[in-house]
């Protein structure tokens, strides 16, 4: 789960990391009040989960409170890469002497949290990693012990010469690690970490991604989720415990298992179609899940045909068949459905479907070819 900048900033602040004054606003009036309180020139930043906010006009300078209200009015409600801006962050415009990058990521290769620091900050760190990897210094932390003081210090020495700044940065490294662990993050990033002309070290922008598996037992983190920042169909799917990602094609896919779901999308493409979505109904699929899945897929007007691809292991194919029948009784599905199922209780599943005149296939290639053909005919 991605956090907004203002949320990530609040978590870093709570861990003791120095940031700029400022606050988040939902209206121009709120933005004006924050600008008046912090004084001087402020920066108004759109809070949306996309990169390139500045280029899209989502980050503006305002010299005073009145200008802050005007700029906030412009930014609030605007659409950046398909997402509407509902909140802006208002912070003082800092004078910047240097910019660096500090990131902490759960690294799958070393299986540990790994610090990445670079004195080339402020820019896209992936670009730095790709073009000049030598500019990034990495350090893996043993999660049994956490980051040691000498490790934090050695990372800070990568960034600064002045010892007061080195000490300040080392403290920030330790605090960042604590925030990472305390909030179940898979990524915590300060970009840029700046120094001001008067020598202070500050976190200017922050990004935190929370490990989705932590949310189950951390309702305090779950409330940070912003449904409005998600594709509406994806938010609905998440609430129904379905793993769903909307794509641009016209063949709707309902599959059990993430790997098979991806392979199904690939096969749709292989036979000349375009998948409309990724959807994994999971292992123990009740009829209810199937109904929700069909509701979400049929709500997309681009979908011209729907494919069920179910390989019953733990999933009982008769449960899925019952779900399909129940769904088509609850609401009218106006596009053709192709059903492939095999495995656990398939004889019963085929009987349930045949009773209502629905055929079922047992071969994945045959089913995909058929659904692609139907989608093409309807287009």
């Amino acid at each position: 789960m991605n956090l907004h900048e203002y949320q990530a900033r609040a978590l870093l602040k709570a861990a003791g990391i120095p940031t700029l004054d400022g606050d988040v606003a939902s209206t121009p009036t709120e933005a004006e009040a924050i600008a008046r309180r912090v004084g001087g020139t402020v920066v108004i930043k759109a809070q949306v989960h996309v990169g390139g906010r500045g280029k899209a006009g989502g980050v503006k300078l305002a010299r005073n409170a009145a200008e802050a209200a005007d700029e906030a009015a412009q930014i609030l409600g605007m659409t950046i890469k398909g997402l509407t801006v509902h909140k802006v962050l208002v912070v003082p415009a800092a004078e910047i002497a240097t910019e660096s990058y500090v990131g902490l990521i759960m690294d799958r290769e070393s299986q540990r949290p790994v610090f990445m620091v670079s004195s080339a900050g402020g820019v896209d760190i992936e670009e730095v990693a790709a073009k000049t990897p030598e500019k990034i210094v990495r350090l893996a932390v043993d999660p049994t012990y956490g980051v040691f003081p000498h490790q934090a210090l050695s990372l800070a020495f990568v960034l600064f010469r002045d010892f007061a700044q080195v000490r300040a940065a080392a403290k920030i490294m330790e605090q960042l690690y604590q925030a990472f662990v305390a909030n179940g993050a898979s990524l915590a990033e300060i970009n840029p970490l700046v120094t001001t002309p008067d020598g202070r070290v500050l976190a200017l922008d922050a990004k935190i991604v929370i490990d989705d598996n932590e949310l189950f037992w951390r309702p305090d983190l779950g409330v940070l989720r912003d449904d409005s920042a998600e594709e509406p169909s994806e938010a609905a799917a998440r609430r129904a415990n379905l793993s769903f990602i909307k794509l641009d094609g016209d063949v709707g896919c309902v599959v059990n298992g993430a790997g098979l779901a991806m392979a199904t999308m690939d096969l749709v493409k292989y036979y000349g179609g375009e998948p409309a979505n990724f959807l994994d109904i999971g292992g123990s699929s009740s009829p209810e899940k199937v109904i929700n899945a069909l509701k979400i897929i049929t709500a997309d007007p681009h979908v011209k045909a729907i494919l069920f691809n179910i390989f019953g292991g733990i999933t009982r194919t008769d449960d899925v068949a019952n779900g399909i029948v129940a769904a088509t009784r609850q609401f009218k599905v106006n596009v053709p459905i192709v059903i492939r199922l095999t495995g656990t209780n398939e004889a019963e599943a085929i009987r349930i479907l045949n009773e209502v005149g629905m055929p079922a296939l047992s071969d994945m290639d045959e089913a995909v070819q058929r659904v692609v053909k139907l989608a093409r005919e309807a287009a």
């Binding site: 992936e126 662990v181 490990d211 298992g257 993430a258 790997g259 999308m265 493409k269 495995g343």
Partner: protein, 291 residues
């Protein structure tokens, strides 16, 4: 005969009295797996299905039954602790089925497991099955498998079943099928399985099923190029996946320019791995290589 588990396996089931654990325990017993014990704290002294003794701790179970493998069906919040308990009791093979374990829990558990020389499979995996030895350790349906000489390793569950099903229907049996799991941090990666299949005298060819995200498939391809003499065929799921989106599995995400299907397929190609364009291709590719 197979890798990791065979007819000599004495299996322990952690979480045997739970909803998932009891369901799959029955299937493992039906298949003919030698299930010697179960563990559920507080239920020591009971018998599962009237025959499998249940213990309070893994250490008790190992002492009383000489279990040499364990499969874990413990809910996500206690699953990493269950892995550590099994490793602490010295069980040499630990298979963790549980999905949804926080990645930090696994990051802490891994050094403990490694320091004791324990082989961990998973988490978030379907486990493994060796058909000839009737050893089913996990949730892979036994009825789609058949004994034979092809080894299969995969990051997925149902996609594995799809491929195994093609093999069995074509009369190509399997030595062992292993699902290594879809999480970012897993105990045994492709290389661990490839190494074992290469050494197994009863495996003639290997099927490798990967997906987008990470670099495990690229490392596996390099290992195949340098160290594997048996024929290998491979598949990568997620060729149509968009960047930056998690495709169900926590590990299946293309970050930046890395972890893409193209990158992985290029690595397969360079290592001489036969590329399956679709799951059904497994049969023809293997036949061409096995003669």
């Amino acid at each position: 005969m197979s890798i990791f588990a065979d007819g000599q396996t004495r299996l322990l089931i952690q979480g045997i009295t739970g909803r998932e654990g009891s369901f799959h325990a029955r299937h493992m017993l039906e298949y003919g797996t030698n299930v010697v014990a179960g563990v559920t704290p507080g239920k020591g002294g009971q018998r599962f299905e009237g025959k499998v003794p249940v213990f309070d701790t893994v250490a008790d179970a190992v002492r009383e039954t000489a279990a040499n493998a364990t499969v874990i069906y413990v809910p996500p919040m206690g699953a990493a602790a269950a892995v550590i308990e099994a490793a602490d009791a010295g069980v040499p093979l630990v298979v963790c089925i549980t999905e949804g374990i926080p990645v930090m829990h696994m990051s802490r558990a891994m050094p403990f497991v490694r320091n004791r020389g324990i082989r961990l499979i998973g988490p978030n995996c379907p486990g493994l099955i060796s058909p000839a030895g009737r050893a089913k350790v996990g949730i892979i349906p036994g009825n789609i498998c058949s004994p034979g000489r092809v080894g299969l390793v995969s990051r997925s569950g149902t996609l594995t079943y799809e491929v195994v099903n093609h093999l069995t229907r074509a009369g190509i049996g399997q030595s062992t099928c292993v699902g290594i799991g879809g999480d970012p941090i897993i105990g045994t990666n492709f290389i661990g399985c490839l190494e074992a299949f290469q050494e197994d005298p009863d495996t003639d060819a290997i099927v490798l099923i990967g997906e987008i995200g990470g670099t495990d498939e690229q490392s596996a391809a390099a290992f195949v190029r340098d160290r594997v003499t048996k024929p290998v065929v491979g598949f990568i799921a997620g060729q149509t996946a968009p960047k930056g989106r998690r495709m169900g599995h926590a590990g299946a995400i293309i970050s930046g320019a890395s972890g893409t299907a193209e990158e992985k397929l290029a690595a397969f190609e360079a290592a001489g791995i036969g590329i399956m364009k679709r799951p059904a291709d497994v049969v023809e590719l293997l036949r061409a290589r096995l003669g």
